[in-house]
C-alpha cells in the first residue's frame, strides 16, 4: 500500500521533470553530441567528407591562429581580470562602508554599463576611440597632443579590455556588495571593540568573509574571458586588420564555420575551448580553496 503510493508519487515526479529533460536532451545534449561527432570528420571542398579521428584536434594545437587567440585570452585573464575585480572590490567596500555620499546613486551609476546592451556599448566605444573624429581624438587635439589610435593593431586588445572592464565592474561589484551586506553586524561590533579601524575591518573581516563571492566572480570572469565574442565581432568593422580571424578562440570558431566553410574544424575548436575552460576554471577553484584551507 505504502509502496504503491510512493511509486505513484515517483511517477508523477518523473512527469514533472520530463519536459525539462526533453528540452535538455534535444536542445543541449543532442547538438553537443552531434558536434562532437562532427569534430572527428573533415569536409573538403574537393573530395567531400572523410573520417580523420583526432586530426582536427592535432591541427588545432599546431594552428598559430588558435594558439595566438588563446594567448590573447591569457593576457586578458592576467591583466584585465585582476584590474576589473580590484575596482569591483574597491567600489563594493567603499559603498558598504557607508562613508561615501550618495551611495545609492553611485551604486546605480557603476552598475549602469552592465545594463547597456553589448552591441550598443561597443558601437559607442567605437565612436569614443575614433582617432580623427572620435571623442578621444578631439580631446587630445584640443589639448594639443597627438591623438592615439586606440583601434590600431597594437592597442586594440587593450581597448577591448577597457570596454569589458567598463561593462562588468558594476556586475561584479553588485555580487560582492550583496555578500558584504549579509555579514552579521556583530562581527563589526566585536572588531570595533578590539580597536580595528575601517581599513583593518575591510582587510581582516570583510574580505575573508566574502571570499566565496569573490571566488564566484573570478570563475565567472575566467569563463567570460574565454567567451569573448561580441567585442571583436563588432569592432572588426572599424579595426579590420587589428582583429584577425583568430582574435579570440570563440571568434575563431565562428569564422572557421561561416567564413572558411570548415564546420568540422570549428566544432573541434569549440570542443577544445570547452575543455580549456573546464580545466582553467577547475585549477582556479582548486587553488583558491587551498588558500582558504591554509588560512
Amino acid at each position: 500500500m505504502n509502496n504503491a503510493i510512493k511509486r505513484k508519487q515517483n511517477l508523477v515526479a518523473y512527469g514533472f521533470v520530463l519536459p525539462f529533460f526533453a528540452v535538455f536532451a534535444t536542445m543541449f545534449i543532442a547538438p553537443l553530441a552531434y558536434s562532437g561527432y562532427l569534430s572527428f570528420y573533415a569536409h573538403k571542398l574537393v573530395g567531400g567528407v572523410s573520417f580523420v579521428g583526432l586530426g582536427n584536434y592535432v591541427r588545432a594545437f599546431q594552428d598559430p591562429a588558435f594558439l595566438f587567440g588563446l594567448g590573447r585570452t591569457a593576457l586578458i585573464l592576467l591583466i584585465q581580470v585582476p584590474i576589473m575585480l580590484g575596482f569591483a572590490l574597491f567600489f563594493a567596500l567603499a559603498l558598504d562602508s557607508g562613508r561615501a555620499r550618495g551611495s545609492k546613486a553611485a551604486r546605480l551609476l557603476i552598475f549602469l554599463p552592465f545594463a547597456v546592451p553589448g552591441v550598443v556599448a561597443v558601437l559607442m566605444w567605437g565612436y569614443l576611440y575614433g582617432q580623427n573624429f572620435g571623442l578621444t581624438g578631439q580631446i587630445s587635439r584640443a589639448l594639443g597632443l597627438p591623438p592615439a589610435n586606440f583601434l590600431s593593431d597594437s592597442l586594440i586588445l587593450f581597448s577591448i579590455m577597457n570596454i569589458i572592464t567598463w561593462a562588468f565592474v558594476g556586475y561584479n561589484m553588485i555580487i560582492m556588495y550583496a555578500a558584504l551586506k549579509s555579514i552579521p553586524p556583530e562581527l563589526y561590533e566585536a572588531a570595533e571593540i578590539d580597536g580595528a579601524g575601517q581599513f583593518r575591518l575591510a582587510w581582516s573581516v570583510k574580505i575573508p568573509m566574502i571570499r566565496p563571492a569573490i571566488l564566484l566572480t573570478v570563475i565567472f570572469s575566467v569563463i567570460g574571458s574565454f567567451q569573448i565574442f561580441n567585442e571583436p565581432k563588432l569592432l572588426v568593422e572599424i579595426s579590420p586588420t587589428g582583429i584577425p580571424q583568430g582574435f579570440t578562440p570563440n571568434f575563431y570558431a565562428f569564422n572557421l564555420a561561416f567564413v572558411n566553410q570548415d564546420l568540422n574544424y570549428a566544432a573541434a575548436i569549440a570542443f577544445l575551448l570547452g575543455f580549456v575552460i573546464m580545466i582553467v576554471s577547475y585549477v582556479v577553484q582548486l587553488s583558491m580553496q587551498k588558500k582558504e584551507v591554509q588560512s
Binding site: P240, T241, G242
Partner: protein
C-alpha cells in the same frame, strides 16, 4: 565577468546547434543535389537546347518562383516581369546581404528543396558556387544567344568551364573620384594620368592642404584586387574542377604594391579602415581629397558626402602605361539559377528578362543607380547623358561607360573567396595598416591561400 557558467553553456550550445543545423546539410553527398527532385534534364536535356515550344509551354503554365536578392526595390523589375508573363508569380525575398545570403543559399541548395529558384550572386563568388555544383548551366536555355549583348569582360565573369552560370546585372569598373576644389588649392590642375603623376599630385596635396589625396583602406580586399586587375596582374585562376592557380605574390603584384608601400610610408595616402563613421566624416570634411573606387561609387558618394555636392569630379584611374589605358573591376552582381529549381525554364527567363530586356535593365541604372553591363544600356541616352549636380554637371556615367571597355577580360577568382578575403585582411591588410613591408604581406597571403587550398583538396598551381 560577462556570463556565468550557465550562459557559457548556452553559448557553447548555440554554436554547436548552429553548426549542427548547417552541417546536417553538409554531410549529404554533394552529388545528390543535382539529381534531387527537380532534374533539369527532364525538361529538355542538358545536351539539347530547349525548344521554343517547351519555353512557350513553361511560360504559360502557372508557376511560382522564389528569388533571393538584396537589391533594393527590385520588386519594380519583378512587377514588369509578371506583367510580361502573367502566369509566372515571383516571390522576392531578401535573406541577407553578402556572406549571410551565401550561407543561406548553400544550406538551401544542399537541402535540395524549399530553396530559391533564382539568386543574386556577385561575380567573385560564381566560381565558389560552381565548385560546389549548385548552379544550373544556362546554355541549354539559350543564354549563349545573349552573350553579345554584354561588355566582353563582364560576360567572361559569368562563364566557368564552358558553362554560362549567371546573367550579368551590374558592375563596378574602377576610376578616380576627387575633390576638384582641394586639388586646385594644392596646385593640381589636371587629374593624374599616370601613377607617377599621382604621386606628384599626392605630394602637392600633402604639402599645400590638410588632406590626403586618397585613403587606401587596409581591409578593402576587393579594392586592392581591383588595382591589381587594372595593372594586368593575374593572381588567381580556377579550371572549374580541381585545380587552382594562386600567384598573389608574383613580381607583377609586388611591383604594384611597392608603389603603394612607397606612398604609404611617405605618408602620401592614409590607411584608415573604410565604410565606418570615421571614414564617412573624412569624406565629408575633405580629409580625403579623393577615392580610387568603382562605378557604383559616384551615386553612393553623393548620398554619403551630401555636404560636398558640386565639388567632386571623376577621372579614369591613373595608368601604368598611359598609351594603353586599363582598368579593373570592384563589385557587381549577376543572377543565377540553382540546380534544385523545379522550374528551370521560367527561372532562367526571370534571370534573363529582368537583366536583359531594355525596360527593366534601364530601370536598374535609373532607379537603383546600378552601373550597367548591357551594351544597350551603356549607350542609352537616358543613362549616359545624365549630368549629376554632385559632380558639377560632369557626365560621370559616360566616363565610366568608356572606362568599362578598358577592363581586362581575363581576370579570374578563386573558388573560395570568403577565405581569400579574410586571410588577405589578416596578412596583406595587416601589413598595410602597419605601414610595413607589403611584399612580405603578399608572401604571407600566398602561403595562407596555398595552405588552405591544399587542405581543401585542390591541386595548387603556385606561380
Amino acid at each position: 565577468m560577462r556570463q556565468g557558467a550557465r550562459r557559457a553553456a548556452v553559448a557553447i550550445t548555440s554554436i554547436t546547434a548552429v553548426a549542427a543545423l548547417t552541417l546536417a546539410g553538409c554531410t549529404a553527398d554533394p552529388g545528390t543535389s543535382s539529381t534531387n527532385g527537380a532534374n533539369p534534364d527532364s525538361t529538355g536535356g542538358a545536351s539539347g537546347q530547349i525548344t521554343d515550344a517547351e519555353r512557350e509551354a513553361a511560360l504559360n503554365t502557372p508557376t511560382d518562383l522564389t528569388f533571393w536578392t538584396w537589391v533594393p526595390d527590385i520588386q519594380e523589375q519583378v512587377d514588369l516581369f509578371e506583367k510580361e508573363y502573367p502566369n509566372i508569380h515571383v516571390k522576392v525575398e531578401n535573406v541577407g546581404q553578402g556572406l549571410d545570403h551565401y550561407s543561406k543559399v548553400r544550406t538551401a541548395s544542399k537541402a535540395g528543396t524549399g530553396g530559391p529558384d533564382v539568386i543574386q550572386l556577385e561575380y567573385q563568388f560564381i566560381s565558389s558556387f560552381a565548385q560546389t555544383g549548385d548552379l544550373l548551366d544556362l546554355t541549354p536555355y539559350g543564354a549563349a544567344d545573349i552573350a553579345g549583348d554584354y561588355v566582353p569582360w563582364v560576360w567572361k565573369q559569368v562563364l566557368s568551364n564552358d558553362q554560362i552560370l549567371a546573367i550579368p546585372q551590374d558592375s563596378g569598373p574602377m576610376g578616380n573620384l576627387y575633390r576638384e576644389d582641394i586639388m586646385t588649392a594644392a596646385g593640381v590642375t589636371e587629374p593624374p594620368a599616370t601613377w607617377d603623376d599621382y604621386k606628384v599630385a599626392a605630394e602637392k596635396v600633402r604639402a599645400n592642404t590638410d588632406s590626403y589625396i586618397s585613403n587606401m583602406a587596409p581591409g578593402q580586399g576587393a579594392g586592392w584586387l581591383g588595382l591589381l586587375w587594372a595593372a594586368g596582374v593575374k593572381p588567381f585562376g580556377y579550371d572549374g574542377d580541381k585545380t587552382v592557380t594562386i600567384n598573389i605574390n608574383s613580381p607583377e603584384a609586388k611591383k604594384v604594391m611597392a608603389y603603394w608601400q612607397d606612398m604609404i610610408q611617405n605618408d602620401l595616402v592614409s590607411v584608415d579602415p573604410d565604410f565606418n563613421d570615421e571614414w564617412y566624416a573624412g569624406l565629408n570634411s575633405g580629409h580625403y581629397a579623393g577615392w580610387l573606387t568603382a562605378a557604383w561609387a559616384p551615386v553612393f558618394l553623393s548620398g554619403a558626402a551630401a555636404d560636398t555636392s558640386g565639388k567632386w569630379r571623376a577621372a579614369p584611374l591613373p595608368q601604368w602605361d598611359a598609351s594603353k589605358p586599363a582598368s579593373g573591376n570592384q563589385g557587381g552582381s549577376a543572377d543565377a539559377v540553382l540546380k534544385t529549381t523545379k522550374n528551370p525554364i521560367a527561372a532562367y527567363e526571370l534571370a534573363k528578362w529582368i537583366n536583359n530586356a531594355q525596360a527593366p535593365a534601364l530601370l536598374f541604372s535609373t532607379k537603383q543607380n546600378f552601373f550597367p553591363t548591357a551594351n544597350s544600356v551603356l549607350a542609352d541616352p537616358a543613362f549616359v547623358d545624365q549630368k549629376p549636380e554632385f559632380y558639377g554637371g560632369q557626365q560621370v556615367n559616360k566616363l565610366f561607360a568608356e572606362i568599362s571597355t578598358t577592363v581586362d577580360t581575363d581576370w579570374q577568382w578563386l573558388p573560395f573567396m570568403e577565405f581569400a578575403y579574410s586571410s588577405g585582411n589578416d596578412t596583406f591588410g595587416a601589413a598595410v595598416a602597419a605601414k610595413g613591408d607589403l611584399a612580405a604581406g603578399l608572401d604571407d597571403w600566398q602561403a595562407a591561400l596555398v595552405d588552405y587550398a591544399k587542405q581543401q583538396g585542390f591541386t595548387v598551381n603556385a606561380g
